[in-house]
Symmetry: C2
Subunit: 466 residues, 2 copies
């Protein structure tokens, strides 16, 4: 929906680009997108945002306005002329959107000249970090909610227009629908929403408010029962209206609780509805929900059929950001490395491939191996940091995870609907052993590096230390 | 920059609107925007986002595409025809953007018919909640950083396009510049940025990388010294290049540290620079900074001149969201209230005004009083919840804070630049006594309600309890 231009970037990308341009240093390079730490203390993340970033990159240009603005910032005319014709002409290899992904292993890889690769860095990180965070959060909520209906209600508390993409990512993570109309319009997922407290308040009495609503919105009628007093006013009025609807051959879909003790109230409301012969009327609940509150409600057998989740979902609380980075691994014909005080932050050189390891009968063993892209088969994978930790994978299936999604600046895979991505994600998760999906202290998925990659990394470290 | 259409809303706004439309219930109403809890355990918040929300609301329309989409969602043709001509024609009264604001007191007030007021709710909350959060976070960082230069580096870790507005809000909170080019383009604040590790890595040696950069970016040259080894490689190379620049009559602006112990390294680097006669070369630092880390660096007298702050600023960590709400207080000729189990969540009825209380010589006493809009003068303000707590303000100056910003759907105040808003905010903060600005456990600013408002609220509670 949004029009991004190529100035949706950090200034340093353009400062560096000016130098590459002047020095004829604009050679082919490889950058890896990966993250270092799983969010939410979880056992996996769900890769999301690929579809948008590919669409954005395909169309990314500097506008007239961008060029005029940059003219005031110490860029040279020849370089500005270059930017005027800028478009991304490189190759992108990536895991599939919706894939389950793990730290350290590149999730996406950009091969392009240095200028093009740098100019897209910021928007790529901005898009993938956020959607991956939210899809992962949504999936944690899905995991505790079982087959209950999950709705995203977060737009009002989202971080500005970040909310537009949060709703999409929530669907990938397993949500059923959203209150967000514009994102629903653009991605075609179910939208949902009935009444706020203001609706009830605007009437002199709650019963008339419910009656009017039921009369004009009979198809998906959900009555919000906590404006004045849930059990003494909201529920009796909702039951009256539900019975009036029955008499007209209609059915009240649900009542919604938005305050108070949701477990207690849901149980009381369920009894009241059942006693009135309204066992088909569902109970929806909202109010500062997250995976912990929902888990607790589920453990208490609260008879809630629909959870509406807002703030905590769309801002990915408590993390708020995925620490995804974009690191140079090859340029000007040579492997490249960044040294750090901490070995875990030393980057992995060379163009690489990531292999997911499976048994002969396609069972995930819980390991990904990172190797040089030219390696055909990996015998042993090493812990990237800790010495003496390694795993023999010689006899196991090794599935190459990074596949072309863009070549010469053009998408080379069929566009996928958000439902297709969500279905793929669900399938991948179903194949992941339970211990990695455990809510607390999940088993750690192993990500290792091949012999050759380890040797190359260690050789480059030694080279730079001298 | 972004094109928002009126479907940037929650579906329930439109469901309610359909009923108001059918029932001729689309009467005049008043909604209050306020928040309940200060973020970051701070003593105040900074109101931001007003300029955008007024611009957005002025232009908010349903597009052809919106109408076509809604047609599939059970809305009636007459109502869709109404939406086609929708525009906001109401009045908005608000505090000034950049104002220091406190919980409970309305920061902004919408007077419009119910449909118009509801349709703008979601985007209004989305915009004001986020920018107020980030301006407040930025100001906390400014408070500990003294007169050091503060730069926003957060776009890559921002929540998608939320980052576009985060940079603007950071300026309002007291930042000096940003790496974010597109927002700088649109709001005219200083942008900043030089080189990433990838620049150094792309060369065979660091010295040549620095030389090339200094040759082509001499005006704002900042060299990143930690790609391989800060003290053994980065600094000696930077000093060599700084001396070469001197010989050409140029000056190296700064070196930047992005890893390691920043206090230790900054001190070592300062000594190395000074010993080389480069006392004019500044030291910039980045890497997971927030107000706590900066306070610690300041306490250690780390000789850092420029702080680059990313993730923690632009996602407003740890809160991530301001809990701003939009509550109906008047409709269809009557004051309106929402009852809650908790008295602190009962809403305040009637159209109201907020008064800031000052002494005769214009010193803030640290109190805001909420009153009915028709009250001329408030003698006593009551704690909104706790009985027996009140404050006599009869002899004090009472400054009305909510002023018209939009009438009949048109802006009625002059557009302000982000610099003007930031300057206003700085002035307001200077007038706020230190105890409210304290980093830890700040003094609590009092927000009370007038006698008449209290009586009206209590009368309506009693009415609904019967």
């Amino acid at each position: 929906m949004f029009q991004f231009t190529a100035t949706y970037t950090d200034l340093y990308q353009l400062s560096m680009a000016q130098v590459y341009f002047n020095k004829n240093q604009n050679q082919q390079a490889v950058f890896d997108y990966f993250f270092r730490k799983l969010p939410f203390n979880g056992g996996y993340a769900i890769f999301a945002g690929l579809e948008e970033i590919i669409s954005i990159i395909e169309e990314l240009r500097f506008s007239e306005r961008d060029i005029a603005y940059l003219k005031e910032h110490d860029f040279e005319p020849e370089f500005l002329a270059y930017l005027k014709d800028f478009r991304f002409r490189g190759t992108i290899n990536a895991m599939q959107e919706g894939e389950i992904v793990f730290p350290t292993a590149p999730v996406l890889q950009v091969e392009a000249n240095l200028i093009e690769a740098q100019i897209i860095e910021t928007i790529l990180l901005n898009t993938l970090n956020f959607q991956t965070l939210i899809a992962t959060k949504a999936n944690r909520i899905r995991n505790v909610a079982g087959d209950k209906t999950l709705l995203d209600f977060g737009l009002r508390r989202a971080q500005g227009p970040g909310g537009y993409y949060a709703s999409r990512a929530a669907m990938i993570g397993g949500f059923d629908g959203s209150s967000n109309v514009i994102t629903g319009r653009d991605y075609g997922f179910p939208i949902s929403g009935t009444m706020a407290h203001a609706f009830v308040q605007s009437y002199d009495d709650e019963l008339t408010a419910f009656r009017d609503f039921a009369e004009h919105r009979p198809k998906n009628c959900v009555l919000l029962v906590d404006t004045y007093d849930t059990l003494k006013s909201g529920m009796p009025n909702a039951i009256t209206v539900a019975k009036e609807m029955e008499a007209r051959g209609q059915k009240l879909l649900a009542i919604r609780l938005d305050s108070g003790d949701l477990a207690y109230l849901a149980k009381r409301c369920r009894i009241m509805l059942d006693q009135a012969g309204l066992d088909y009327v569902k109970i929806a609940a909202s109010n500062q929900l997250d995976e912990y509150v929902i888990q607790s409600l589920q453990n208490q057998n609260a008879p809630i059929d629909v959870y509406g989740v807002g703030t905590n979902l769309v801002i990915g609380k408590p993390n708020g950001a995925l620490d995804g980075v974009y690191k140079l691994s090859f340029a000007n014909g040579k492997p490249r490395i960044k040294i750090s005080e901490s070995i875990s932050k030393v980057t992995l050189p060379h163009k690489k491939q990531v292999y997911r390891i499976l048994t002969e009968d396609n069972v995930l063993i819980g390991a990904d191996a990172i190797a040089l892209s030219k390696e055909a088969h990996i015998s042993v994978m090493h812990h990237p940091v800790e010495p003496f930790k390694n795993l023999n994978i010689d006899d196991l299936k090794q599935q190459a995870m990074l596949q072309p999604v863009m070549q010469q600046g053009k998408r080379v895979y069929p566009e996928k609907s958000v439902q297709e991505v969500a279905a793929f994600s669900k399938k991948q998760l179903a194949a992941l052993p339970e211990e990695f999906k455990r809510f607390d202290n999940p088993h750690i998925y192993k990500v290792g590096i091949s012999n050759q990659l380890k040797e190359e990394r260690d050789r480059l470290i030694a080279e730079h230390k001298n």
